[in-house]
């Protein structure tokens, strides 16, 4: 899809979401530009997942607007009806969940998991769907011979890669990643990060990635948002934020995590 580099891909303005008394997101505003990878970091419970789910349309905000670039214009997502939103979700967006079981259909084969979005977009040629599924298995470094196997016969890292393939098969413009390397051990994490980095740069993907691992953020994201108790407390280029954190909390976060 052709993108207008002169306007943001996504624009979030004064977003609010509370669960009872918990202010999960409080007055959040930022922009995402075409081709950017934005990292969202912060401690557990700071509202990262909530923010991601709000933007991806999986959760409704209490207040605020989200706009998204389509045909070189910004459309207001918060005005969109549900069918239109779902259409966006299954064509132009992807969502990679922290737990593969939330993002995969565990009771159908790997091929069907990848093919689902194609079929939802009216692909009706079995041979073509299969070919595309095999291509994507290879792209995420899963042996294409496993195409008819169920995801539960896959390792955690493979499941996560399958989830990525399932999302990227429709060439989305924007991918949401919630702790994509979360439950994986270090060597598997490294491999997945490499893969993600390759995909992001080869496909020119724009992405918003939640992580509490600053090393992951440093590797993948161009800009960084630091959240605390539902608010953005720092926002800047990843290198700047990590090298020279301004907010006391960011300083704490950086010093505690990057001590290696």
């Amino acid at each position: 899809m052709k993108m207008n580099p002169g306007i943001p891909l996504l624009k979030v303005e004064n977003l609010h979401k509370a669960f009872g008394k918990t202010k999960a997101c409080h007055d959040i505003s930022f922009e995402l530009w075409p081709g950017e990878v934005l990292g969202i970091v912060g401690e557990s419970g700071s509202g990262k997942s909530t923010l991601l789910r709000l933007i991806a349309g999986l959760l409704e905000p209490d207040k605020g607007t989200i706009s998204y670039q389509q045909n070189s214009k910004l459309i207001t997502l918060t005005d969109l009806d549900e069918p239109a939103l779902r259409h966006l979700q299954r064509t132009e967006w992807g969502f990679v969940h922290q737990h593969p079981s939330d993002g995969l259909r565990m009771n159908v084969s790997a091929g069907a998991n990848i093919g689902e979005r194609l079929m939802a977009n009216n692909w009706r040629h079995y041979g073509n769907i299969r070919e595309k599924a095999q291509h994507w298995l290879k792209a995420v470094e899963i042996d294409p011979a496993r195409i008819d196997d169920l995801p539960r016969t896959f390792s955690g890292g493979m499941q996560q890669r399958l989830q990525i393939a399932r999302n990227l098969v429709t060439n989305p413009n924007l991918v949401f990643l919630d702790e994509p390397t979360g439950g994986l051990d270090v060597s598997v994490q490294a491999k997945l990060l490499d893969l993600l980095r390759g995909l992001v740069s080869n496909l020119g993907l724009s992405a918003i990635m939640v992580t509490h691992d600053l090393a992951v953020a440093r590797l993948l994201s161009t800009r960084l948002i630091v959240m605390k108790q539902g608010e953005i407390i720092e926002h800047g280029l990843t290198d700047q934020v990590l090298e020279d954190p301004q907010a006391a909390y960011s300083q704490l976060l950086v010093s505690s995590v990057l001590q290696v």
Binding site: P83, V108, G111, A112, M119, R124, Y126
Partner: protein
């Protein structure tokens, strides 16, 4: 003649069911919720179909009931008896004679007419249930025509068996809008459901759903371009009437592996036999 209201259900319940039926006819293939009543027979015995039949029955109707293709199975006989007793209506085994045909599995081989109504007893009305157990989600899928999942099931069929192995309850698209389960008929009957002159009503008692196909509704079986929909075909023709091209049941004739194929539609088979007999005589 009895302590029951005509056709067992009280008038208020019938009215409620008829309202659901009208809505179902107005939105072909859409599953309309209704307040299913307890019937004096267990679920699985066609309580959904029985409630639909009871709601549309008039004293002048002639009722035929089939289970598989046969009129003489326990289920069919007891439903016929039930309406004979509670509505004092006439019943028949002849497809041409019937004004209402209640069925569990088959669409009769004899082509239906505009003045007939086919009532299906449906166990599971939701075609998406297999892959998406959440009702809130399947409802949205129907509402938004978000039907990719239906093809996922067919995809799995092919990847596991080399062809679409679903032979019963084969999913269809109604007028290009709603995906519907003609459950539990064999896919052999799907072409008969398409563009059918008779009104077709579907009742699911346990699941409390009614859906419908008005006469001449376009019903297409889902498939892939490179794996097109096909009906079952048999090498054999019916052992009893000699007809080929009908839905055949395999019947074991002895304990030495002897078997024959006969029409599953017993009424149709009998008619073919007597026509042959007349030709011969």
């Amino acid at each position: 003649m009895s302590e029951y209201n005509f056709a067992y259900l009280n008038e208020q319940t019938k009215k409620m069911i008829r309202r659901a039926l009208l809505k179902a006819v107005a939105i072909p293939g859409y599953q309309v919720p209704f307040a299913s009543r307890e019937m004096p027979m267990p679920y699985g015995w066609g309580t959904g179909g029985v409630q639909v039949t009871a709601s549309i029955l008039t004293p002048d109707d002639i009722l035929k009931v089939i289970d598989q293709g046969a009129d003489d199975t326990t289920n069919a006989v007891s439903i016929r008896k039930f309406f004979k007793k509670t509505a004092a209506i006439e019943t028949t085994e002849l497809s041409e004679q019937a004004t209402i045909i209640q069925t569990r599995h088959r669409v009769p081989e004899t082509p239906l007419r505009e003045d007939q109504i086919l009532v299906y007893q449906v166990p599971i009305p939701e075609p998406l249930r297999f892959l998406e157990p959440r009702e809130t989600e399947t409802r949205k899928m129907h509402a938004y025509e978000d039907y990719g999942l239906m093809h996922v099931k067919l995809y799995e069929d092919i990847s596991q068996h080399g062809h679409i192995s679903t032979t019963y309850a084969y999913p269809v698209m109604v007028e290009g809008r709603y995906v519907m389960d003609p459950s539990p008929t064999p896919k052999f009957d799907n072409p008969k459901i398409n563009n059918c002159p008779a009104l077709q009503l579907f009742g699911a008692g346990r699941e409390k759903r009614i859906y419908a196909l008005p006469p001449y509704t376009k019903v297409t079986s889902l498939d892939f371009e490179d794996h097109p929909f096909e009906v079952q075909k048999w090498q054999a023709s019916c052992e009893l009437c000699g007809t080929s091209g009908t839905f055949l049941d395999e019947v074991i004739t002895d304990d030495k592996g002897g078997r024959i194929f006969v029409c599953s539609d017993t009424d149709f088979c009998r008619k073919q036999q007597s026509e042959k007999f007349e030709e011969a005589g």
